[in-house]
Amino acid sequence: MKKVHVTTNVNGDQVEFLADPRETLLDCLRNHLDLTGTKEGCGTGDCGACSVTLDGTLVCSCLVLGVEAEGKKIETIEGMASDGELHPLQRKFIEHAALQCGFCTPGILVAAKSLLDTNPDPSESEIRFWLAGNLCRCTGYDKIVRAVQDAAAEMRGAA
């Protein structure tokens, strides 16, 4: 099938790539833009390892076509730290040991950031249910929830 030229913005940078119209955004990010921080855990929208935001909305990039990114703004895990400075969520995930194999971590961080962007003071249940679409097989989630709570508190200036 004829490739389509896509121009989009990823983590603040204007980028272009050629995509097969059937290719997922996940594959485009990983294979055409070398942004391999976004992971494939299932390819069917059930695990959240591929989470990115598209114009501010949290999406599973395995369910979005690369060509849909035309003219949009995408944020991935690679854009979360700015100028070498870790985002508070990233710092808290390290501090709380909220990761083991790390494969789910980028997706969970992107999802958690999108929660805190709209709800800076989420309850424990809100965090739990917001992240219910992000599977983690290693940690049992407790440290993840605590890390998100702690980061939220710090970002509100309450820590």
Binding site: G41, C47, I94, A97, F103, P106
Partner: protein, 761 residues
């Protein structure tokens, strides 16, 4: 001292920024080939014809290989050479690889793999343990039987006899990163990058597959996105396929199962049926007990024999059983070849006796914890108390540990509160349970209990560490680096950990059986000690002092009045022509094991723990929630409490998942219907216990393990049993009858148990 501190995972900073590279993230040559298997669509039969022309004609396809095209060995079995990589004419399960597609892209390979036209002569498929038993389809000639005392006689004399049958499901590993391998051809052979717990076995199988010696194959393994036992043998097929193609074409080859293929092709935890018959006193003390264990092993042997052995080895769990007989059948069925999974049969064996305990307590109307304690081994026994396999139990601590957990979890008061709640509420019923864990540490295959490490100190004082263990998220590299840093008295940041590499440390064992830190920590310590002793000897000579007087601490080396930075000491030793590189080796002491006789000391020591779980069940729908979990777990002198607590939490949730939501369903044609996360439910964030208190027991290992720590990967998995027991307790609150809850306790299974308790079935 770096040992015993809660340092983060060595890759944590890479994980949170997306820079940690897994195999699929490695840059590959532009002409890399991508592979996929064409698989069997029937459970058992002969291939009568195979038309692969559509596969070959599909876009991007470069080659299609069948068994005849394989140049050397066609075998990916870790044990009995009974597992052809590509079918040789007979198919044994739905999902068995038949042909291999080589294409320019991953998607092209996958699409083409669906186009094969294969006709079969179908044969009857054995899908269940009943069918396999009836057909006498098994591994080994007959059942394995171990015994101690005379169970039948003791049961015959007992005041009460309690008997039941318990079915438990298997479990999909669901490592978030699926199986993957990448082979790159080089001058003499091939370099394989893979996601594997057992690089040496990959090296061995690849060498057979490409007709070389092991020295022509180098396997590199930096990290896995989860393993849990599922990457002990199940990656062999991908590594061998890519290596064969790389050798044939001279191009790099990569193979990655997508999630459906992964779940359909690879083996899972063994499902078991356990029948128990116990003769007990009126207080619930077991006088004699018999177990019949039926393990569904799938189509090839894989690791089923040691898995089934370990189930037998844990059928006592925490209880001193004088008269016991265990009969184990390893049944061969037309399903995926069941494989290693965290606990390796231990959880299945253990839940057999825990289930019996609950049943006994129910029949006698006694507190299940009191019944358990009445049967416990004695704390720190003198060696006269022995397991069913005649091993003295000398390090038992569950008496004291249980007492402390009962207090910290407020068990008795909450037990009463649960009863009060249940008396007042008809729809929502609560349940609570406390269950113990005693888990044997060591590979039951004795020769696996060895490890190697390689340590270099560079002339600038920086340290390079390599060992045979693999990092799958458990933090092994961090722990071993802490051991090395402690040996040199430097900051762990000074120790650079590198990918597991068969070219650096050879003949390694699988990182499995929870043994990673025990074995590799000791090997790395041996290497560190060797270098440090050489350094001390040289520096002592320079200062006319005794080597023992040289101290390595706080990043400094102190000798007599002089105090220099470790860097300076390294530089001086280098200039003094001292070798600053050493291998280290370790073999676990004390173990001897005769598996045929069921006698010996298969384990160096036991790891212990106990947990209390409280649940609530909706008796109208069967839905349920974990309300609170308290765990007290024995990691000896923990090398890294943060990592160990993380292991305990993750293992508990995974164990509870196995026994609750994770249901594998095969249809009557042998097709796995739950082959994606849409239908196979691992616990999600919303399922985590509302209150989750995890603490580590504070006693050292009585054996001389690495800094007196204990292995922690598998033992806490079995704390999940308390979630299951609590659900059974809630069901029992619905009526006078034994609810006979089966696992996994899905909402459906809970509803059935509620009905049985009420006597309305």
């Amino acid at each position: 001292m770096s040992v015993g501190t809660s340092l983060p995972h060595d890759s944590a900073a890479l994980h949170v920024t997306g820079r940690a590279r897994y195999v699929d993230d490695l840059p590959v040559p532009a002409d890399t080939l991508h592979l996929a298997f064409g698989i069997s669509t029937i459970a058992h039969g002969e291939i009568t014809s195979m038309d692969l022309s559509a596969v070959r004609a599909a876009p991007g396809v470069v080659a299609v290989l069948t068994a005849e095209d394989l140049p050397f060995a066609n075998d990916v079995s870790p044990s009995a050479h009974d597992e052809p990589m590509l079918s040789t004419g007979t198919v044994h399960f739905v999902g068995q690889p038949i042909f291999l597609v080589v294409a320019e892209s991953h998607l092209q390979a996958r699409k083409a793999a669906r186009l094969g036209q294969i006709s079969y002569k179908e044969r009857p498929a054995l899908l269940t343990v009943d069918q396999a038993l009836a057909a006498n389809s098994r591994f080994e000639d007959g059942p394995v039987i171990w015994s101690k005392g005379d169970a039948a006689a003791a049961i015959a004399k007992a005041p009460r006899v309690i008997e039941g049958t318990f079915d438990m499901g298997g479990q999909e590993h669901f490592y978030l990163e699926g199986q993957i391998a990448l082979s790159v051809p080089n001058e003499g052979g091939v370099t394989v990058h893979c996601s594997s717990q057992h690089p040496t076995e990959i090296q061995h199988k690849v060498a057979e597959a490409i007709g070389t010696h092991m020295n022509a194959v180098r396997v590199e393994m930096r990290r896995m996105g989860g393993g849990f036992g599922g990457k002990e043998s199940q990656g062999n097929a991908l590594a061998c396929s890519t290596a064969i193609v790389a050798r044939m074409t001279g191009r790099a080859a990569k193979m990655r199962y997508d999630r459906d293929d992964d779940m359909v092709i690879t083996g899972k935890r063994h499902d078991f049926r356990i029948h128990y018959r116990a003769g007990v006193t009126d207080e619930g003390r077991i006088l004699g007990i018999e177990f019949l264990q039926l393990a569904r092993c799938g189509w090839s042997m894989d690791l089923s024999l040691p898995v089934a052995d370990r189930a037998m080895l844990h059928s006592d769990n925490a209880y001193n059983l004088e008269n016991i007989r265990i009969e184990s059948h390893r049944l061969k069925t037309n399903t995926q070849s069941a494989t290693a999974y965290r606990g390796f049969g231990g959880p299945q064996g253990m839940i057999g006796i825990e289930r019996a305990m609950d049943h006994i307590a129910h029949v006698l109307g006694r507190d299940p914890v009191a019944v358990r304690k009445a049967n416990y081994y004695n704390d720190m026994g003198d060696g006269s108390q022995t397991t069913p396999y005649h091993m003295p139990v000398e390090d038992f601590i569950l008496g004291a540990l249980t007492e402390r957990l009962e207090a910290s979890a407020d068990y008795q008061a909450r037990k009463k509160a649960v009863a009060d709640w249940n008396a007042k509420n008809d729809v929502l019923k609560k349940g609570i349970a406390l269950t113990p864990v005693k888990f044997g540490i060591s590979f039951t295959l004795t020769h696996y209990n060895q490890a190697g490490a390689l340590v270099h100190v560079y002339q600038d004082g920086s340290i390079h560490l390599n060992h045979g263990g693999t990092e799958m998220g458990q933090g092994l590299n961090r722990k071993v680096a802490q051991v090395v840093a402690a040996g040199f008295g430097v900051d762990p940041g000074a120790v650079q950990i590198t990918a597991t590499d068969t070219g650096k440390v050879p003949n390694t064992s699988a990182t499995a059986a929870s043994s990673g830190a025990d074995l590799n920590g000791m090997a790395a310590k041996a290497a560190t000690d060797t270098i440090r002793e050489r350094m001390a000897e040289f520096l002592a000579r320079e200062h006319q002092a005794e080597p023992a007087a040289v101290r390595f601490e706080g990043g400094r080396v102190k000798i007599g009045g002089e105090d220099m930075a470790f860097e300076e000491a390294a530089k001086r030793c280098y200039q003094g022509r001292v070798s600053l590189s050493s291998t280290g080796f370790y073999a676990t002491p004390k173990i001897t094991w005769d598996r045929k006789a069921g006698r010996g000391r298969p384990f160096y020591y036991f790891a212990y723990g106990a947990s209390v779980t409280e649940v609530v069940v909706d008796t109208l729908t069967g839905e349920n929630r974990i309300l609170r979990t308290d765990i007290l777990h024995d990691a000896g002198n923990s090398l890294n409490p943060a990592l160990d607590i993380g292991q305990v939490e993750g293992a508990y949730v995974q164990g509870a998942g196995w026994l609750t939501t994770e249901e594998l369903v095969w249809d009557d044609k042998g097709r796995l219907k739950t082959h994606a996360p849409s239908t196979y439910k691992i616990p999600a964030c919303s399922d985590r216990p509302r209150i989750f208190n995890v603490a580590l027991w504070d006693g050292p290992n009585r054996e001389e393990t690495i800094y007196r720590s204990k292995a922690v990967g598998e033992p806490p998995f079995m704390h999940g049993i308390s979630a299951f027991s609590a659900l059974a307790d809630a069901c029992a609150a619905c009526g006078p009858h034994w609810p006979d809850l089966q696992a996994p306790a899905t909402a459906e299974a809970v509803l059935a148990a509620v009905k049985r308790a009420r006597g309305t079935v």
